[in-house]
Assembly symmetry: C2
DNA sequence: CCGGATCCTTATAGATACTG
DNA sequence: CAGTATCTATAAGGATCCGG
């Protein structure tokens, strides 16, 4: 096993769970990684997404996660010269852990959840709770929320991409709505027909594709 | 949302992942829960399974997890009068999180893992990496390792129960082996034919059932 | 500005001893 | 056996500062 950075506590067990927690179990670590699930971010982006983390802890976590091989730091070439953090392929494999944690957290008896709710959180809810559709369904979307825009790609009924980005090419439909409305759809507090009827969701492009997408989101239970 | 215990830090985000980490994200919490995955334990059992945890931290975690609704504390009636900790149904739902974490940890570039390796860890590896067999396969087993005995039940090709226990009734086969041998089988360092040939695994009862079980364990990759 | 480093204070974890 | 009490060592939280 590769040595841990000095000064790092390890659980000292030859158990894959303990090992995983040695790498990503410290306070804030998984939330930093979570911020990178929808695409690369800069240091300042992470700070504003996680206002309660202190700069020293954020810097420490990024260093540790980079050393662990979960996060990668890139410096964009001139004239941009910005530093970006993103997930390594192995870091992106934490997706299954996030899905399991989110589904479990959603079953919590301590609901409803309170606190900050960001555009990213709602979109990640969409990713976590997206249900596969018919195998012949292929579509691309752009979704605009208040502060961010996202690109979705559905292939064979499955959500194969969801990232913070302007679409690389033409999309089948562009959807504009608010964080609150999308959140209400995901939690089941609102159904897609009434949302569209009351013009809380607007779209341009292939409206059948939009209907299909909204249909996979409406749920019986109540995620967040 | 139900109030957190006073003095408890919360991430303060309305995100199911952040909420889950508020409840089970503190140091040692998931490892304490892990020790309960194979059945109830007493305080002293937990201490010896996690020798590096201090008594005050263990007591604190048990209190917090009980308050969170993940762990339950029971006092056995007279004349036993022992106190047992076990998982609530919702706590047991963390199974999916453990499986995801264990699979991720196993793909770590920092392997091979070093440190303590307990009977429980190896048996949990069996649970994590058990591959479903034919739907008509039903069987029960008892497995003896060095220090513990376990009860397994396979129904319709799936592992529906694996707990630290003497079997409640007759089993199809009783298997005796060592932690090291079972671990080697799971990691692929040893194959079941040579293990049985060299008598590192012995069994009584239905030997076809034993063959079927060992066949699901032998793997191409290398878990721990 | 952005990307941190530094300093100081507070909260938690770790170690050891001890008690109902 | 099942913890609590006490003390020390680290890590996190918060404010400020600094170099590119």
């Amino acid at each position: 096993m590769v040595d841990m950075p000095v000064g790092h506590r390890s659980y000292g067990q030859a158990c894959p769970v303990a090992h995983a927690l040695d790498l990503i179990g410290e306070r804030w670590a998984l939330l930093v990684i979570r911020e990178l699930r929808l695409g690369p971010r800069r240091y300042a982006d992470l700070q504003s997404a996680l206002p309660a983390i202190s700069p020293s802890v954020l810097a420490q976590r990024l260093r540790d996660l980079e050393l662990a091989g979960v996060v990668r730091k890139r410096t964009l070439s001139a004239p941009i010269r910005a530093q970006l953090y993103d997930l390594t392929p192995w870091g992106a494999d934490l997706e299954a852990v996030f899905v399991a944690l989110a589904r479990w957290g959603n079953q919590s008896p301590h609901t409803p959840l309170t606190g900050e709710l960001s555009d990213d959180t709602v979109m990640l809810g969409l990713r976590t709770f997206f249900r596969a559709g018919p195998a012949q369904w292929n579509a691309t979307f752009q979704i605009h929320l208040e502060h961010e825009s996202y690109h979705l790609r559905v292939r064979r009924g499955r959500l194969v991409e969801l990232a913070r980005a302007e679409p690389p090419g033409p999309v089948d439909a562009v959807i504009s709505t608010s964080r609150a409305v999308l959140h209400a759809l995901l939690t089941g507090a609102l159904d897609n027909n009434s949302a569209r009827a009351s013009r809380q969701i607007s779209s341009t492009g292939d409206s059948t594709a939009v209907d299909n997408l909204l249909a996979t989101l409406t749920r019986p239970a109540s995620p967040t």
